[in-house]
Amino acid sequence: MKEKLINNLNEYVSMLDERFGNKKLWEDFLITVAENSDDVFLAKQEVLKNVVDFIGIDNFILAVDILSDSLAEFPKDKVLKAALKIMKDYCNERDMVVKELKEALGELAVPIIRVWKDIVLTPLIGTLDSERAQTMAEKLLEFVADVRAKYVILDVTGVSFIDTIVGGFLLEMVNAVRLLGCDVIMTGIKPDIAHTLVKLGVDFNAVTIKRDLETGLKFAISKIEKGVSV
């Protein structure tokens, strides 16, 4: 196969060039195939990557078919195997990027801020899925314990709808915060949210409700200046 390939190199290159373009690419590709037919592209991954990048995986499969039709003993299996490995690498890279993006998004979506000595503010924005709600609860509790907060202001102004599952999560989070000896003030509750929370049986003795962030913050600060009250 090697000899036939090298002898007719120009012919094959033209054929592929006509179909897909980029003569040099095909030349490098075919030479590499000819050289390392035992472990195709192991040493020269770049070459294969360039081809796949250039024409995409569908066309690559097509090109491989064309070649194996015109050239007996073209190492179709080995070439495709090598291509699969490259695709796996791409997938892994992309997975890592997705993971980083998810993390960044997670951080953004639920900021936890210490706004005053002993007061932590968590403004909820948008919707929470249950996995993010779980992560948020864990982060909030760690933070509250670290800074020894006395109040958590949970502002839900940015939330127009929560389902009962996320509502339940929030409730659990509130209860957990209280187990740390920290009080929870909820602010910015919209009508739909109020509806869901009441249906869920929120214990309003457990949570202080204030109309908005400003009122909530004022309340917490005044409590702290006065000293702890039970």
Binding site: K99, K102, E103, G106, E131, Q134, T135, E138
Partner: protein, 145 residues
């Protein structure tokens, strides 16, 4: 004759016999180590250990004797921990009531433990027959993020 769901005990990696009160602590510490080794987050390790504590206590209190089995489960890319609580005790008469729980103030009420266990774990299965015994199978997936 009614038979309980069959468990293949050999499939499991670790077994702890629950016979004395101290075995409850042994079981939950053991599970804690396994969960940590499997790379679960601290929050999940706490949940899993607490669930096992509940299950082991139920065995000790009501059946007097039983086993906790633990194994690592691999589902494709995911890792999960599976725990079986098994006893040949008196069985539970009204399973639904026991699971629904809520928290009664009666000391040692079965419902107390099981409803909590169900909320802490991803999957919860129970089979119990009066006079024959009880099997509880729970599992939790390791979260990736």
């Amino acid at each position: 004759m009614v038979i309980l769901i069959q468990i293949n005990f050999e499939e499991y990696d670790v077994a702890v016999k629950i016979k004395e009160e101290k075995d409850i602590v042994v079981a939950r510490q053991m599970v804690k180590d396994i969960a940590r080794r499997l790379g679960f987050s601290l929050a999940d390790i706490t949940k899993i250990s607490t669930a096992v504590s509940e299950l082991a206590r139920n065995i000790y209190r009501y059946a007097k004797e039983g086993f906790i089995y633990v194994k690592e489960k691999k589902e494709g890319q995911n890792v999960a921990i599976e725990i079986v609580a098994y006893d040949k005790g008196p069985g539970i008469e009204n399973i639904n009531q026991a699971i629904m729980g809520g928290f009664t103030t009666t000391k040692g009420s079965l419902g107390l433990g099981l409803s909590g266990v169900r909320r802490l774990m991803d999957e919860f299965f129970i089979d119990s027959e009066v006079g024959i015994g009880t099997v509880v199978i729970v599992s939790k997936r390791r979260r990736s993020f």
